[in-house]
């Protein structure tokens, strides 16, 4: 059940390993998972994700799924959404959750951190215009609270407003009458970098299975 086939890795895997920084073993494991999710296909679609049972309870599952299909996560220049992704794109998205390797220069760390924050930013920004508007933020908060049942929209709205206001306050040296469109990525970076919590979470932001690269029996439990 858990044994990985010991066939030699196809050449694409080597290329992917170069590109994304995963080890061959990790790529093999993820490939298996990819195949399992897509039921043998070469591409993953949204419905395939919806089949994961434990994802059902996640309040932000839509955002997570969307993140896989968001072209902006594949490379900085793409735009728009895909309807299906292939293994390479799957890996690229997953690579955001790789643990940092220990020997990295500060700059590399910084750029990796920036990428991760961009990923989160894209998740917040559901309409893809590069700004987190109040509506976007409200939507996020509503989703977060959606699992708690019996909540008026008012409260989540209130919370989102407060949060938005706070960001506006911290970031702005603006003209009082200026209209605040939304949080840009730069603002987002600034706000996140001010929070100490950020660093702690950054360091924890990895998935252990990707760390050791081993396939476990659990990989095949849906």
């Amino acid at each position: 059940m858990g044994a990985l086939k010991s066939t030699p890795a196809p050449t694409e895997h080597y290329d992917l390993s170069e590109k994304t920084g995963f080890s061959l073993r990790q790529i093999r494991v993820l490939h298996k998972r990819f195949k399992q999710l897509s039921e043998g296909d070469d591409v993953l679609r949204r419905e395939d994700f919806l089949g994961i049972s434990s994802l059902k309870y996640n309040p932000i599952r839509k955002e997570i799924i969307e993140a896989f299909f968001n072209r902006r996560n594949f490379s900085p220049s793409c735009e728009g959404r895909a309807n299906e992704i292939d293994f390479e794109e799957f890996l690229v998205v997953m690579s955001h959750f790789k643990p940092p390797c220990s020997k990295m220069t500060d700059e590399q760390r910084k750029s990796i951190r920036r990428e991760k924050l961009k990923f989160i930013f894209n998740m917040h920004d559901s309409d893809g215009d590069g700004l987190i508007t109040l509506e976007d933020y409200r939507h996020v908060v509503e989703e977060l609270l959606s699992r708690s049942g019996a909540l008026g929209k008012e409260t989540s709205r209130a919370i989102a407003d407060a949060a938005m206001f706070e960001v506006a306050r911290t970031v702005g040296h603006r003209d009082p009458d200026e209209f605040y469109e939304g949080i840009t990525f730069e603002h987002f970076l600034k706000v996140r970098s001010q929070s100490a919590l950020c660093f702690k979470k950054e360091e924890k932001w990895l998935i252990r299975c990707l760390m050791c690269g081993k396939g476990s029996r659990h990989m095949f439990l849906k």
């Binding site: 599952r61 019996a150 206001f165 306050r169």
Partner: protein, 782 residues
């Protein structure tokens, strides 16, 4: 507290007060001495009395005794109270001398006092009453400290680092015990001190190992006492402290194991295996017993809504029962107590009233503080009492070996642990962990109850090590921390954004784990949370308070605090300024939104000057920082004065003043808005009215009524979001549209009927009906 509040200029006064205090102390001690000798005298009187009962009646009739001394009926309680009084006066005295308390940790001072008192008593009576009997220590003095620690244990860092903590506690203690025991045996065999009266080579390997196991355990009392004052970062604190709590199981097992072996005389492999099994049973059994009592307590608290007064009693009793039950079966009482406190806390806090919560908090802190003081004083007294067998070789080698063992143990373990940790432990961290391994009174008590021929020398050595660690290490750790520039506690303001971000990340990581198909740490945490929410909370928490998520609870608390700050700072003159618009919520909204007519119930958005906003922001910042500070520190002796509680009296006065001025305060345009409160513990904790009443105000027509609940007693840890359970609520502001006129300032805002209310920055409007409610209120807890 005094040291913080007294300005430098008062040091002269402080000194004279300190002298007064010392004088008082001396008087008290002498009194104690004379009282005790009086006791001896009266008891002898009674003997003679009883000797001739019959004859006494036949002698001449004495006149009716107007004044007599009958001490022995009250002797025991009297002495106990005297000791506790002494301890408390000492604490008072220390804090009057700020310079002293900055340099020397409290534990050192207390031991010194104990030495002093013991010395005086010895001089006065030529013998010292043995006060630190192990029964008193283990049954009365230790539980409050441990319960205080366990109840307020920060669960999140503890669980996140549980692997590391367990490694240090179990493997580290074992290593220490065997290393010290073995090498001391070797030293004993080798060293032959012709001048000492003790023949060291008589000490067998087993007594040495027993000694090693006693002395190797890091002591929670000492660690707490010293670490409180140095404010290191949370990680190190929880590592050392967690280790000191969890190594109790190891100590208990080793102690009993070696004692058994000593009796039976021989050790076999089976015994070693049984020892291992016994360890597992002791540890897990202790935790299970504690958890069981914790759940019982949580369940009981579900039904206490009609008898609020005895709620704290349940908490204390169940915890104490957990401790005692574990002790009955030779399980680890400390672990059971910790488990009980940690398990029951989230549910109990959701169920009990605000006042009970405050009561529990203050009682625990008070008892643990007194206990700790008494322990250290008794340690000093017990040092003076009893004969000591000085053997320099033994003593010095013990101290040295303890240090060496600790350092090697920590370094070695960290090397292994760092392979599994994400946040690695640096060298500095390792140094602090090694240096912070203080021994304390638990070791002493365990040594006290030894039945060994070498008891005296062991006791002397134990006392030496304790003194060394507490004095030398305790005093130098603070400068060393500064020297090494160890990361201090990070005073981060916790904002609503961070909260949202944290939750978001949690869910994100769980989701990714699910997609990977890997059941990682987030997955299990999520499952536990869901199980908790679905089943456990329904059973253990009364009513329908089980549904509020943490985010909302956090948000409500934040708003409460803001509101109260606003009231505190906002009454009076500052608000007379006019408010041209600056940033308003409306600006953040897209301009096409919300045509004026579409939202009739829209509330007025305050228009603030930049300066005023900055003021408010500053207040918020300092307040939240203060709260955060309190949140992360275990500061048991000096409960940081709750800024909200402190301001209460002023608050009431200000509110009253505001009521008088209210009609003049038409410029106050700041409002708090949150949906209607409906009787949740979060809100009820903030209520000034008595607990069973809802704080309902009839809506005043012309004034925006705010149902602000002023009593915000943010207990340090309730803000910390263990699952508060509250329904959807908050404060409500109903602003009839007519009064929007009243709040228009001169200038620009006239057209804006669709202004939305500012959430975070707020000022409750003047409240008409407060007077009547105040009369009904019970006094606000301060």
């Amino acid at each position: 507290m005094f040291s913080r509040m007294a300005p430098r200029g008062r040091s002269g006064l402080g000194r004279s007060l300190a002298e007064l205090g010392l004088l008082l102390l001396a008087i008290l001690v002498l009194l104690d001495g004379t009282v005790l000798s009086l006791e001896a005298a009266t008891s002898s009187e009674i003997d003679t009395h009883e000797g001739k009962p019959g004859t006494h009646k036949n002698t001449s009739k004495k006149s009716f005794p107007v004044l007599g001394i009958k001490y022995d009926d009250v002797s025991v309680p009297f002495e106990i109270s005297l000791w506790v009084l002494l301890a408390s006066l000492m604490k008072l005295g220390f804090h009057l001398i700020p310079r002293l308390s900055n340099v020397v940790p409290e534990s050192c001072l207390l031991i010194s006092v104990g030495l002093l008192v013991g010395g005086i008593l010895k001089l006065a009576r030529d013998e010292v009453p043995p006060v630190l009997s192990d029964r008193i220590f283990f049954l009365c003095l230790l539980p409050p400290i441990i319960l205080d620690a366990g109840y307020f244990l920060p669960i999140r860092p503890f669980v996140e680092n549980i692997g590391t903590i367990l490694m240090f506690a179990v493997v580290g203690t074992l290593w220490n015990a065997f290393f010290v025991g073995g090498l001391i045996y070797a030293v004993c065999q080798i060293a032959q001190d012709k001048y000492s009266e003790i023949d060291l080579s008589n000490i067998g390997i087993l007594p040495c190992l027993l000694f090693g196991s006693i002395i190797s355990a890091v002591d929670p009392v000492a660690v707490l006492a010293v670490f409180e004052e140095i404010h290191i970062n949370e990680l190190l604190h929880i590592l050392v402290f967690g280790e000191s709590l969890l190594n109790d199981a190891v100590t208990v097992v080793l102690y009993h194991l070696f004692e058994e072996f000593m009796e039976s005389g021989s050790v076999s492999a089976v015994d070693a295996l049984l020892g291992l099994v016994s360890f597992l049973i002791v540890a897990l059994g202790g935790v299970l017993v504690g958890a069981f009592y914790g759940i019982l307590a949580a369940f009981t608290s579900r039904f206490t809504s009609h008898t609020r007064v005895i709620e704290p009693l349940f908490v204390f009793l169940y915890s104490y029962m957990a401790y005692l039950s574990a002790e009955v079966f030779h399980l680890s009482g400390i672990m059971s107590l910790i488990a009980c406190g940690a398990v029951m806390r989230p549910y109990v806090e959701a169920n009990i009233s605000h006042k009970s919560h405050t009561t529990i908090k203050y009682f625990l802190k008070m008892w643990s503080s007194v206990s700790e003081t008494l322990i250290f004083i008794f340690l000093g007294v017990a040092t003076v009492e009893g004969e000591h067998h000085w053997n320099w070789v033994f003593l010095t080698s013990t101290v040295v070996l303890c240090l060496v063992a600790r350092v090697i143990g920590v370094v070695g373990l960290t090397f292994i642990i760092n392979k599994f940790r994400i946040v690695k432990l640096t060298t500095k961290d390792q140094f602090i962990i090694a240096y912070g391994g203080l021994r304390g009174a638990i070791a002493f008590s365990l040594g006290f109850i030894l039945h060994s021929e070498h008891k005296r020398i062991f006791l002397t050595a134990i006392i030496t090590v304790i003194f060394f660690t507490v004095f030398v290490q305790g005093m130098t750790i603070k400068p060393l921390v500064e020297l090494l520039a160890v990361k201090k506690k990070h005073e981060a303001k916790r904002s609503i954004n961070e909260e949202i971000h944290t939750r978001f990340l949690d869910h994100l990581l769980t989701g990714i784990e699910d997609i990977c198909g890997h059941y990682g740490h987030h997955h299990w945490k999520n499952k536990l949370n869901r199980f908790n929410k679905k089943y456990v909370k329904k059973i253990l928490i009364a009513g329908d308070r089980s549904k509020e998520p943490q985010l909302i609870a956090f948000y409500h608390k934040l708003e409460m605090k803001n509101a109260i700050q606003m009231v505190e700072s906002g009454g009076g003159s500052k608000l007379n300024s006019t408010f041209p618009s600056t940033v308003s919520m409306q600006n953040i909204q897209p301009k096409i939104h919300s045509p004026p007519s579409a939202r009739p119930s829209e509330r007025a958005l305050p228009q603030l000057t930049k300066g005023r906003e900055e003021e408010i922001r500053q207040i918020l910042r300092t307040n939240l920082q203060k709260t955060r500070q309190r949140l992360q520190s275990y500061n048991r002796h000096t409960l940081v004065v709750d800024p909200d509680e402190e301001g209460f009296d002023d608050l009431i006065l200000k509110k009253r003043r505001m009521m008088e001025l209210d009609w003049k305060l038409k410029q106050m345009t700041n409002y708090l808005t949150v949906p209607r409160p409906q009787g949740s513990p979060t809100m009820s904790r903030a209520r000034m009215a008595s607990d069973s009443q809802a704080y309902v105000k009839p809506g005043a027509e012309n004034v925006p009524t705010i149902k602000i609940d002023l009593a915000s007693p943010q207990s340090p840890d309730s803000v910390r979001l263990l699952d508060e359970v509250v329904q959807d609520q908050g404060l409500t502001m109903s602003l009839p549209s007519s009064s929007s006129r009243a709040y228009k300032t001169s200038g620009k805002d006239d057209g804006r009927d669709q202004q939305k209310l500012l959430r975070c920055l707020s000022d409750p409007g003047p409240d008409v009906d407060d007077d009547e409610d105040y009369d009904d209120d019970e006094p606000v807890p301060t």
